[in-house]
């Protein structure tokens, strides 16, 4: 059954896939395998000549250390809070925007800005605004009669501030996806429901929201994966502090690997992070069926 055309077709597919595959294998798969190998070793750039395989010792050390469990707890809390805030706010604003008629293009342009702006620049601005004595945030609080806050100084407050800054940057991501989903939606069932006397909020919850699920599922999966490995915001705003109050797994791995140069241990941390991510997202991603090719030649 191998006609010349079929052979040419196969050769074409292989050739087209080749460049990116070589690159992805070389630049992501190989480094990843190297990381797995490192995670079983005591590799440290401080003492590179003492290299030896210590197998599961890194993982044992990790699971016994308080700093790992603390970092895991903070990472999970941060991810859940950040994504939840962004989901509620994003869908809410999208629903309002959907019914707005005036200056929608301008609003959309403004909403796009936090997503596009260099995170380090934005976070640096937040640092200025949140300065306890000179920042505009406390000044505005004072104007409305509220006590000033030590935004980054206490553990709970620092985490809340990080969630807020992450929400500043990423709420528009969910907002734009939800708005796009609403715009693409068939409104007939909605109108039918309202004919039956359903109120606007009921009809939004029972008809619009279920139809938005495919969009929101993608948005939440991507957002959760990224929130789980947030780096820029935390690194620039708190550096993991005060103390270790906002030191997430990613920051812990960075500190161990890049600052203390214990690559083996840091690699083990990264592998555990990846396993958590895969378990959490695999089932979800498979179900929403993103991977069927739509047309076939």
């Amino acid at each position: 059954m191998t006609s010349p055309a079929a052979r040419e077709r196969r050769r074409f597919i292989a050739l087209m896939l080749m460049p990116a595959t070589v690159l992805l294998v070389g630049l992501t798969l190989v480094p990843f395998i190297v990381s797995v190998v490192f995670s079983f070793s005591n590799l440290s750039l401080v003492t590179p000549d003492d290299f030896a395989f210590i197998w599961f010792e890194n993982f044992g050390r990790m699971f016994e250390s308080a700093e790992f469990w603390n970092a895991l707890r903070i990472t999970v809390i941060f991810t859940i809070l950040a994504v939840a805030v962004q989901l509620v706010l994003g869908v809410g604003i999208a629903a309002l925007l959907h019914h707005e008629t005036r200056s929608v293009p301008l609003l959309r342009l403004i909403y796009l800005l936090p997503l596009a702006i260099t995170p380090v620049a934005a976070v640096f601005t937040f640092r200025i605004m949140l300065n306890p004595s000179l920042g505009v945030a406390n000044y505005l609080l004072k104007q409305v009669g509220l006590p000033p806050q030590d935004w980054l100084g206490t553990p709970g407050m620092a985490l809340a501030t990080l969630v807020a800054v992450d929400a500043w940057q990423w709420t528009p991501f969910i907002l734009l996806i939800a708005a796009g989903g609403l715009a693409a939606m068939d409104e007939e069932p909605l109108e039918a429901a309202q004919m039956d006397g359903a109120g606007p909020i009921t009809s939004f919850l029972h008809h619009s929201l279920p139809m938005l699920y495919p969009y929101l599922a993608v948005a939440v999966v991507f957002r959760s994966i990224d929130a789980f490995k947030t780096f820029d915001i935390i690194f620039v705003l708190t550096g993991g502090g005060p103390g270790v109050a906002t030191r997430t797994l990613n920051l812990l791995a960075y500190k161990q690997g890049i600052e203390f140069l214990s690559m083996g241990y840091a690699a083990a941390l990264a592998i555990v992070m990846l396993i958590i991510t895969i378990i959490a997202s695999q089932a979800f991603l498979r179900r929403i069926n993103l991977f069927r090719p739509k047309a076939a030649l």
Binding site: Y111, V218, Y254
Partner: protein
């Protein structure tokens, strides 16, 4: 949607329904408060960059002040900013070119051809996004230090391609899927090879999509912080330069802000000019 002659039994348009619970002025107010929240840090950065030192660190932050350009003059004449700009430009352009060159053919085949493992290949590409950055960073760092790729443009470009290529393939796949496959089928009738159909029929039509993905890749590379911070030392890109600024000149907020505004200029330009393309890219293809 907005038909004026409403028959008695026809239901209210959903927009009209919502107006009942939420007065239009209230809805508009909420939307603009959210817009203000999105804009405020950028606005504040801009005002800081135009303030004198005394105004910038005054205990009562001033909303009204006499703007000065000194910060910009100092920053632009020092040459530091230009160096970061130059580095970022090389890295971002190199990344965009390489990622597109490698990613587009793969995206096309994934979009158009059914073959064994197509869906798995797509999943694998997307799963590279899940890898925690440190898992890639450590091998990169170790290898770069040994091979001399550390602190080179090529080294940074390769790292950025590794990060962005999954997005390039993913988005381009979406763009190709939007194009009618009848175009190529007609070309095959005329005896075109698969490559000719791709190169001469599909690729020209896909140019707007390619442009959108190029802009997005450039933006990702321009904004990328962690890999640029770790894998280079003298070659500082814009975010790294900005980060180091914060360390060195903690108190000179005016100049700091002016540098940040200058470094954000290309980003803001992109947002204003290519808004539509960016929406699709920044929502990772979820919104067409």
């Amino acid at each position: 949607m907005m038909d004026q002659e409403r028959r008695p039994l026809q239901p209210l348009h959903p927009a009209k329904q919502l107006r009942r619970v939420l007065a239009p002025w209230l809805r508009r107010l909420i939307l603009w408060i959210f817009a203000l929240w999105c804009l405020f840090p950028i606005y504040w950065l801009a005002t800081m960059s135009l303030k004198r030192q005394v105004d910038a660190i005054s205990r009562t932050p001033s909303f009204i002040f006499e703007p000065i350009w000194d910060n910009y003059i100092n920053v632009l004449s020092s040459g530091e900013v230009w160096r970061y700009f130059h580095n970022s430009l090389i890295v971002a352009c190199g990344t965009t070119a390489l990622a597109l060159l490698l990613g587009i053919p793969t995206a096309y085949v994934l979009a158009r051809y059914r073959f064994f493992g197509n869906a798995d290949y797509g999943f694998w590409i997307l799963s590279t996004r899940m890898t925690p950055p440190v898992a890639m960073l450590i091998p990169f760092f170790v290898v770069y230090v040994r091979t001399g790729l550390f602190d080179t443009y090529l080294g940074l470009i390769l790292a950025h391609v590794a990060i962005t290529i999954s997005i390039v393939v993913w988005l381009m796949k979406g763009f190709f899927e939007d194009l009618p496959s009848e175009m190529e089928e007609a070309a095959f009738m005329d005896g075109a090879t698969p490559f000719e159909a791709f190169r001469h029929i599909c690729l020209p039509v896909a140019l707007p999509g390619i442009a959108a993905v190029a802009i997005l890749t450039f933006l990702f590379s321009w904004n990328e912080f962690l890999f640029s911070l770790v894998l280079a030392d003298r070659i500082q890109t814009v975010p790294v330069g900005l980060y180091n600024f914060v360390g060195y000149q903690q108190i000179r907020w005016g100049e700091l802000s002016a540098s940040a505004v200058v470094m954000l200029a290309p980003v803001l330009l992109f947002v204003f000019v290519f808004q539509k393309q960016l929406v699709r890219g920044l929502t990772l293809g979820a919104i067409k």
